[in-house]
Symmetry: C2
Subunit: 252 residues, 2 copies
Amino acid sequence: MARRAPRPAGATLPAPGGPRRIPDAAVARLGTYHRVLTDALAAGSCTVSSEQLAGLAGVNASQVRKDLSYLGPTGTLGVGYDVEHLLGRIGVELGLTRHWPVVIVGAGNLGRALANYRGLAARGFVVAGLVDADPTKVGRTVGGLAVEPLEALEGLIAERRVRIGVIATPASAAQEVADRLVAAGVRAILNFAPAPVGVPPGVSVRKVDLALELQVLSYHQVRATTRTRGDGTHPRRAAAPALRPDPRGAGR
Amino acid sequence: MARRAPRPAGATLPAPGGPRRIPDAAVARLGTYHRVLTDALAAGSCTVSSEQLAGLAGVNASQVRKDLSYLGPTGTLGVGYDVEHLLGRIGVELGLTRHWPVVIVGAGNLGRALANYRGLAARGFVVAGLVDADPTKVGRTVGGLAVEPLEALEGLIAERRVRIGVIATPASAAQEVADRLVAAGVRAILNFAPAPVGVPPGVSVRKVDLALELQVLSYHQVRATTRTRGDGTHPRRAAAPALRPDPRGAGR
DNA sequence: TAGATTGTTAATCGATTAACAATC
DNA sequence: TAGATTGTTAATCGATTAACAATC
């Protein structure tokens, strides 16, 4: 397999699809700031400092100022940030002022939970459709929404102007579903299937793997209980035992 | 608020709770390798190269080798990795060979979906309990498991040797639940509530915010449609409009 | 004014990627 | 052997944090 050519020193990347100004991690934190500021406003706060906001969001004050600087100047020197103003700026930048129709593919446990989840609607995400390939699931009502057949996917996306799709299918179906979503005009995908999906440039994908999250935690537990070698070394094992050079060894 | 003292140059951190050898991001990828290797083994592959594994997992081959190096030597120079051997090494390191009893707090849509989710059981996570504060939910059966009252939490954790807790409650209850989980002996928390929870050192927390994931995607859409200023600058706004210095301004 | 706080630059940290010597 | 591939080091990249001049 061809070795990747070394990138010419100092070359700047062309940034496919135009420059993305705010890093995803910062966008996610801005969303958190928006939530805690909403609470702060309800509690009567008119202004907050970066120190205060950092405390509410559980991050560093420098990071708050850095994140907010992506929005352009939003505060007042020596005073802080006007809560209402800041809420407005974040809301506009992140699209929280709009409604985003979403289609969920897969009406299994996870898909139904998402369709029912009030936290999504509260932040402008409207479940415009819930489809499933299983005919026995079609017609069931979930959170006031009838499950539609998979064949309805394309029409539904076009009619209801869906831009965001959620994949809540088994891993085996994920890529095919992603292809159909993209072909039908979806521009962003949230993937809950435990398999990566490939998409053309310009389409955004976020992946959430619930089992993987738990696995990281179980590793922490293993680490905590297994007694650590102080020197951080591993026992040198005698490498892999007796490699069979691939005689197509009948999958056990 | 006291400015953080500058860290003395060159000082190494004491690493609370002992050195954590493998970074979380690498642990998550190791989990992915485990999954794709399981498929590869079933398909008859006895060995894989880092290039092949990278292709299956959708990452860089250098990264595969780096990640695997955390396990100590696992491959054979000039040949590659023995699939079965590698599965074993990853499984032991991540705790995939054990059963992990898990308690889920909150039997709303998300909690019930998680309790029903077969992908968890498939990877060794056994839902040992599902509790809810709402008496009308108690007694219902979800995925063969009866919802128990919140009061049963501590007893359940002790009896069933639960080490991992999942918070699937509203934001308002998250911190109190976290405190009770930790007090009862839970050492790792997966938090689905849209609020950060504080825990004592030594306890691991992972946070998943479904609405935040969608918000990042909606931002991408806003960016894609809003025409970008070529120079990457922002229009200089006249800063925040007329700051009222906090006269307790009756929540609008 | 004196005190407070932003916006930004520089320093630090950590994670990813490229390169290559070792060697099967 | 010649070709392939690991394990690891060095280079790069990006994100976080500290520091501070500007100034309300």
